[in-house]
Symmetry: C2
Subunit: 370 residues, 2 copies
Amino acid sequence: MPTTGKQLFTTLESDGTLTVEIASREFPEPTGNQVLVKMEAAPINPSDLAILTGAADFENATYSPGKVVAKMPEPFNSGQKARHGQRLPAGNEGAGTVVATGDSDMAKALMGQRVACVPGNAYSEYAIADAAMCLPLGDHSAEDGASSFVNPMTALGFAENAKMDGQKAILHTVGASNLGQMLVKICQEDGLGLVNIVRKPDQAELLKGLGATHVVDSSDADFMAKLKAAIDETDAFYGFDPIGGGTMVDTCFKAMEQVAVSKMTEYSRYGSNQQKRMFIYGRLDFGPTTLTPSYGFGWTLSGWLLTPFLATAGMETVMRMRKRVLDNLTTTFASSYKTKVDLEGMLTKDAILDYRQMKTGEKYLVLPNG
Amino acid sequence: MPTTGKQLFTTLESDGTLTVEIASREFPEPTGNQVLVKMEAAPINPSDLAILTGAADFENATYSPGKVVAKMPEPFNSGQKARHGQRLPAGNEGAGTVVATGDSDMAKALMGQRVACVPGNAYSEYAIADAAMCLPLGDHSAEDGASSFVNPMTALGFAENAKMDGQKAILHTVGASNLGQMLVKICQEDGLGLVNIVRKPDQAELLKGLGATHVVDSSDADFMAKLKAAIDETDAFYGFDPIGGGTMVDTCFKAMEQVAVSKMTEYSRYGSNQQKRMFIYGRLDFGPTTLTPSYGFGWTLSGWLLTPFLATAGMETVMRMRKRVLDNLTTTFASSYKTKVDLEGMLTKDAILDYRQMKTGEKYLVLPNG
């Protein structure tokens, strides 16, 4: 007998109409290595918002219980042509209890257990998940485990990637985010240098309270001088940025290059030989990224996504990372939430206009079964 | 007895005053592996212009025989803080006759020979060069050999780098340049696919006359559709761009991604898994590079310079590349010049305003000894 339950769907039509709604659906019996999870908690991460709200106009949207219809402006509508007309699920990760399993031993071993999972439709009463990606939570609550994948594995991924690339320090442009706070602790544990950029004095205080040594406030008048000093002290020529749009990446490259040039004995029209590396791993700012010709040719900028990184890192590394998350779920990898909502509560005007701002420390937790 | 001769010097003061002048200097006796070359011909490449003219205002400069004083605007003046007050030579490459050598066997073997060299002060009656970087030209003229390093080795470097990275095709955004024409022939010889972007119909004809199969004209109304078709046919997800500023790199990433997405069976909010790679190897446009969030996270953009690439490739590869250049100096690697000037002729208003435009097919050749 298939299980019936409510799930969130997001549909963008070719005319730019975005419909996000809660609707009933049937969930199939899990087969093979699949498990059926009754979802108890799922966070709204920035990476979920791309498909959930995107750049649509929710100020002037039409709201009804469990449904919102908004307009997606250009060029964002055309840019998502590939999803036009498709009724898509949302919610990368969450936690819940396994209520049915496929035939595999790995799946069957999870029956009745509370697990964290990465189903892609976590905003749902039920979800089919891959047993290999489930993390048994033991006595931890669903709330403790709901955010155990995206942020923890991404923050750990930065440290792993830096070490693979022979780096001794990392620069992070949004230091006070939930992920940024995890990164502070990870770098301390792993002996990696870390330069944190924050936007406000209270965020700087927060990070210093966690033991961060290099915190630079972009609202300070001497931000650039302090950023250069921090890079000079740590050798952080390797940074991660979740903003994407605007000039933050450019600012980091400039600071890195100026530190490198200050150590050169002879002028070169081509800039320093110091390799400068930045990764964009999110799009808090949908605007274009601007790169100025002011740091020579020794730089590389890439997009960074967790899934391809994990594929590159290999299963053994992934398993080691997941175990580290589970072992430190309520300490290094703890997440905090501003508020909790049910599925319908996700789609009120107040909620959407609030969580889509992705303010530091104001994450929402969805409780799909109330 | 030291040799005396004229040389071009370029000096940027902290107040933005750029002075480019011809002045007499003494050249030391070559020692060790050095040779003293009486320079006969040196090209003005785009890579020379960065230090020679930069973004300075030569419309309103003060001209006198063998000297020009111009103003460097912001932010370009501050951006070159490291060279403020330094009296720098210019001219990456050229050809001439070895008139004195150091003690090493390699240096002594070059005595009296015509060589191509990379002295960094090629706009000069004499230059000290490293014998290991000299290419004996045999019966070739200095004009034939003057441009045998920068463009040939860069074009070959693209092909070498692509093969190292497992690529089967290259995209080049300025297909009709001198370097671009070399790349057409290299890719034919090496069996690499090549997508050429040009700006005008006559440039497209030129390249097709060389046997290029994929030539896309950015002035065509259906440029984007044709670019995508060419990428689709060649799998050119790996491109080189000498423009730097503006949206060309963005356009290439968009076209690459749209080709990749068209082959996906399922929508992904993160874009395709196709890795897209672009390199900026010049700055024909000093403006900022603009990257839009429209091709997911599977992309990497880097600066590319010849010298670090050669260091990575290793001496054996460099020697193989140089031999290939010499063997094909008047065919695959032939350069053509719009006009020839002497050292003083470089610094007239007409000349500077002309060559700084870096127009395709309008390269200047300097004859330092007239």
